[in-house]
Amino acid sequence: MPPTASLAPQALDTGPARPLPSQARGKPAAAAASRNWQRNWQRESARAYGLGLAPALVVLAAITLLPLVTLVVVSLTPLSLTDPAATFHFEQPAGNYAQLLQDQRFVDSLWVQAKLSSVSVLLQLLVGLGLALLLHSSSRVVAGLRTFFLIPMVLPPIVVALVWKIIYTPDISPMHALLEQWGWPLRSLIANPDTALWAIVAADVWQWFPFTMLMVLAQLQMVPRDPVDAARIDGANRWQVFVYIVLPYLQRTLVVCALFRLIDSFKAFPLLYVLTNGGPGTVTEVTNFYGFIQAFNFSYWGYGSAIAVVMLAIIFVLSALVSRLGRAKGDAHAR
């Protein structure tokens, strides 16, 4: 839109082109004119704002709602690569879902997901909290180092996967080389079914602990000094101050962090794809990865969609929880 076209130059000379309601107070005729003007202005502004909002909403609907509907529709069909045209039918709409319940590999993938998510989220909370406390209590110089702690989180996920591929590949890994020098040769962690999942967890914790750290650091700066000082004067030691005064202030932040990380842990992909590819066997195959394999390796799009729908449902419940806790957190601050 040409910005200067609506800038009426004479309006600048003769004063306000549109009277404000407050200026028109007094005479009844002026008040009526003002009401009239207000109505017009409201209509005009609604039209202008609507014009600004509409394109984004149309595009967003096309790229989010449309795929969602497609996903659900496809999940009701046996659509696959073998016969793309003919399989678009709906004789057994719940067929994919019924099959999911009997699919041991799917049920296993949920279990792997649960193990991966719970352990890595817990460790991320602990490491993040510990480091936040360490950095918060240290000198200004160390405060300047905080930015460097963020590096794992901002690296492109594929680079994180690469970094850990190097650490976990015995031929090239400095970890394996050092352990061998010290007389503790180690088998490949990611090729061993007993350790593969925990190797992934370690990499995931490394990537995401800075998130918890950042959130906790921000919250720590809002802990009021008065109760802390009072407790110190009353003879509380550092541990007591932390447990009884600081921790309650952090509680909600920690819960919100945990839920965020939990939701994101359902999307873990590059680490799994590069490090283990779901293996050995299926010990690191999480639900997201299984859905990917069904849809894009085996080209069972209908079945893959059904898996995605189930994941969406789980994530929807978790998101509702986050937004409720988030709002409660805002209220707590307002008090």
Partner: protein
């Protein structure tokens, strides 16, 4: 700017106690530095590998003469092309998201219409959905439309998360600007959108830059969508790296060099927006 901590006890302590506290602080600082080194070691190891000669990749020897061999090798292997694809997709997607999202965010911040909350919620929800839920429908649609393996296809897909980030973040920045300034411009005869363009937008420039940078970082870092929706023509840098990994006999120094190149823009930009990083990452859940 550094907030005082609860470890500083009440003022007027005896000298000896303050000395103890000073020593404790030094100890903590040292601990923090040590932890930082341990945390960054895996990442630094990859970076130093990128500068080693090919035959020396797995040496534990920390003293070596750095070489750009690996980077030159990448150039010959046409990595520049996927790097260029990444750049093109990220810039286009960021630009388009800003173009569509900024006016929408402004309207949402100023216009109190009835379904406002629902619209905001819908925008926020897109961040939570797992990418696999989008990729299957997009893959099927792109096959049909002939958009598989095209830069424009990726640009479109990246709008799903970038548009949500722009709307969510910019709405916050606009709400922080008092409306009095715009009203003054309206009084002078400005239309709503020219007041936005001349008065409000310049005031939110830092926020605009932060939002653009975050969009760029998110598009640049994507691996999942690019892996599924590209084949040969529109391959982005993260996918190219994985293709190298699967190619037998590829040298590790080159892989490390490719990783170093891919993370470089992200690291540079992160310094710019670290204040807003959490806002971008948590977009979708916590509303203030």
């Amino acid at each position: 700017m550094h907030a005082e901590t609860w470890h500083h006890a009440a003022p007027a302590l005896p000298v000896w106690q303050r000395a103890v506290q000073g020593a404790q602080r030094h100890l903590l600082s040292t601990a923090a530095v040590v932890v930082l080194m341990v945390v960054l070691l895996p990442f630094l190891w990859m970076v130093q590998m990128a500068f080693r000669p090919a035959g020396d990749a797995l040496s534990l020897d920390l003293v070596f003469s750095p070489t750009l061999e690996a980077f030159a090798g990448l150039w010959q292997d046409n990595f520049a092309r996927s790097f260029g694809n990444s750049l093109l997709v990220s810039v286009l997607s960021t630009g388009l998201s800003l173009l569509l999202g900024v006016p929408a965010a402004y309207a949402l911040s100023r216009w109190r219409f009835k379904q406002r909350r629902q619209v905001a919620l819908w925008v926020l929800c897109t961040r939570m959905a797992p990418p696999i839920a989008f990729t299957i429908p997009f893959f099927l649609a792109f096959r049909w439309l002939g958009l598989l393996d095209s830069v424009w296809g990726l640009v479109l897909v990246y709008l799903t998360f970038n548009l949500a980030i722009v709307i969510w973040m910019m709405q916050g920045f606009f709400e922080a600007i008092p409306t009095a300034l715009e009203e003054a411009a309206w009084m002078d005869g400005c239309s709503i959108w020219s007041a936005f363009w001349h008065v409000t937008l310049p005031l939110t420039r830092p926020g605009l830059v932060a939002t653009a940078v975050l969009c760029f970082i998110f598009s640049w870092s994507d691996f999942f969508f690019a892996l599924i929706l590209t084949r040969t023509q529109a391959v982005t840098a993260p996918v190219a790296i994985v293709n190298f990994l699967q190619y037998d006999g590829w040298e590790w120094t080159k892989i490390a060099a490719a990783g170093t190149l891919v993370m470089l823009p992200v690291l540079l930009f992160t310094v710019l927006v670290r204040k807003y990083l959490v806002h971008g990452l948590t977009a979708g859940g916590v509303k203030d």
